[in-house]
């Protein structure tokens, strides 16, 4: 089996300061990897380098494209990369308003990615939008409402629908449950788990919430000061952490 994503020696510097450095890993189809660490550990910088939002100073990000197999997304042309980011890739932002068009209806938000890849049949586009709203548990009669009229949890689910409608293979998530109430988080996590399984999605999830990665991620990467300090199976890293910092991180979580 070919990895979907092969990351080698990614490094990003902000002047003399390290954003992240020496990051390498493979991600296989259907795999979910969590990246945890405290604020400033470089996890978001890494995610943005992988998703093409930032250009790393070193390293390569090979993605298994449908047409040509492994391609370095850092050196590929911008049109190709942007095409990837609206077909095979998806990016779920922490704040839904960063990932939605707030002045466009829910249906238009979901339909945009379809129209961007030349869907030109209104009925079909609307049908897909209704289907996807249903899959993220948003009632069909909200299809013409703008996201400004939605709750935080609904906005986040709408963002997920908008991203997954084109059947991407790789989803980047930046603190997907970050700003949500605990009860809403559980619903979202359950939804994401189901979608990951049904669509055989690969995902990279950045979060500081260890409960989120325990439930969603197969594998875990722990970052500190821009470096990866520990990797492994999620439950192994959480239940038998090897590195001093990971032990501190795990033991610092309040038990309920």
């Amino acid at each position: 089996m070919t990895p979907l994503l092969q990351v080698e020696n990614i490094a990003k510097f902000y002047g003399a300061r390290i954003g992240c450095t020496d990051v390498s890993f493979d991600l296989y189809p259907g795999e979910v990897m969590g990246i945890v660490g405290e604020s400033g550990s470089g996890k978001s910088t890494l995610l943005n380098c992988l998703a093409g939002h930032l250009t790393p100073d070193d390293g390569s990000v090979q993605f298994d494209t449908r047409a040509e197999g492994l391609r370095d997304t850092i050196t590929m042309s911008e049109p190709e990369r942007r095409m990837l980011s609206r077909t095979d890739w998806a990016f779920v932002h922490q704040h839904a308003r960063d990932g939605l068009r707030m002045n466009v209806s829910a249906g238009g938000n979901v339909g945009e990615r379809l129209m961007a890849i030349n869907a030109r049949h209104y009925g079909d586009i609307r049908g897909s939008a209704i289907d996807w709203l249903g899959r993220v548990e948003i009632s069909e009669d909200r299809i013409d409402d703008r996201p400004t009229a939605f709750s935080g949890g609904m906005q986040q689910r709408l963002q997920i629908a908008r991203n997954l409608v084109t059947g991407p293979r790789l989803v980047f998530m930046d603190e997907p449950t970050g700003g949500l109430d605990v009860s809403v988080q559980a619903r979202l996590l359950d939804l994401l788990r189901g979608l990951v399984r049904e669509m055989n999605l690969s995902a990279i999830i950045v979060t500081h919430d260890l409960a989120v990665v325990r439930l969603l991620a197969d594998r875990l990467m722990v970052m500190k000061d821009g470096h990866v300090i520990e990797t492994g199976l999620t439950d192994q890293v959480l239940d038998d952490p090897q590195h001093a910092y990971t032990q501190l991180l795990v033991s610092s979580v309040l038990q309920v």
Partner: protein
């Protein structure tokens, strides 16, 4: 099916003066197809620790843990994930699930994860829940609110949903009444008959006598270490 060779394990507590706590030394064990081996020893002797090492939940640094042809001690995470999905089942003492997910879905999940169609998975899950006397009105509810015994039976149903060739059972009969206990033992027997290699921890002597072919006292690998 399962072969453990010279496995050792210690915990290093970096934030408590780098204290090193050895918990297992040179443990060895083999379990054949269709065989059930009980781990015995006093509470805290290291039965669960060994079981967690076999499952890959605890990292093994020295020795080999072969499950089928995969060495858990040396395998990459994705190989262990694949192993857990298709080969090695584990019924832990505690049920850990996403809040809000229905009991039926919790039980069906191992089947869905291995590609069983939703309807077939539901049928299997329903028959297991019925067999373990979980009232049907609870199937659509999340098991997080269930009693200890009910949670334990949901956990067993989930562990037996997919026919794993190897099974780890940590106190599967601990909080069950005699009737349910008998059901679980029957399920274990059936698993043995289809060729599953099983390692179990049984608090209940009678149950252990009934189902296990032999037993291994882990104390000999751990005695004096934890002190």
């Amino acid at each position: 099916m399962i072969s453990i060779e010279n496995v050792s394990k210690s915990f290093v507590l970096h934030n408590q003066g780098a204290t090193e706590i050895p918990v297992m030394q040179n443990a060895s064990l083999t379990v054949a197809v269709g065989e059930c081996v009980a781990l015995v020893g006093a509470s805290g002797a290291g039965k669960s620790t060994l079981m967690r090492m076999i499952y890959g939940n605890y990292l093994t640094v020295t020795g080999r843990i072969l499950v089928g042809d995969v060495d858990v001690a040396a395998a990459a995470p994705r190989e262990i994930i694949h192993l857990r999905r298709h080969t090695l089942g584990y019924v832990s003492q505690f049920l850990r699930v996403v809040p809000r997910v229905s009991t039926l879905d919790v039980v069906a999940e191992p089947l869905l994860a291995t590609g069983t169609p939703r309807e077939d998975a539901n049928i299997i899950a329903q028959s297991l829940l019925a067999r373990l006397n979980i009232p049907e009105r609870l199937w659509s509810l999340s098991p997080t609110t269930f009693s200890g015994g009910e949670q334990q039976r949901v956990n067993i149903a989930r562990g037996f949903a997919y026919p794993y060739p190897a099974l780890l059972l940590d106190e599967p009969t601990a909080s069950l009444d005699p009737a349910n206990c008998a059901t679980v033992l029957a399920m274990i027997s059936e698993a043995k008959l289809r060729g599953a290699a099983i390692i179990g921890i049984f608090h209940d002597n009678a149950a252990r006598e009934e189902i296990c072919d032999r037993q291994l006292d882990v104390t000999k690998y751990t005695l004096g270490l934890a002190a």
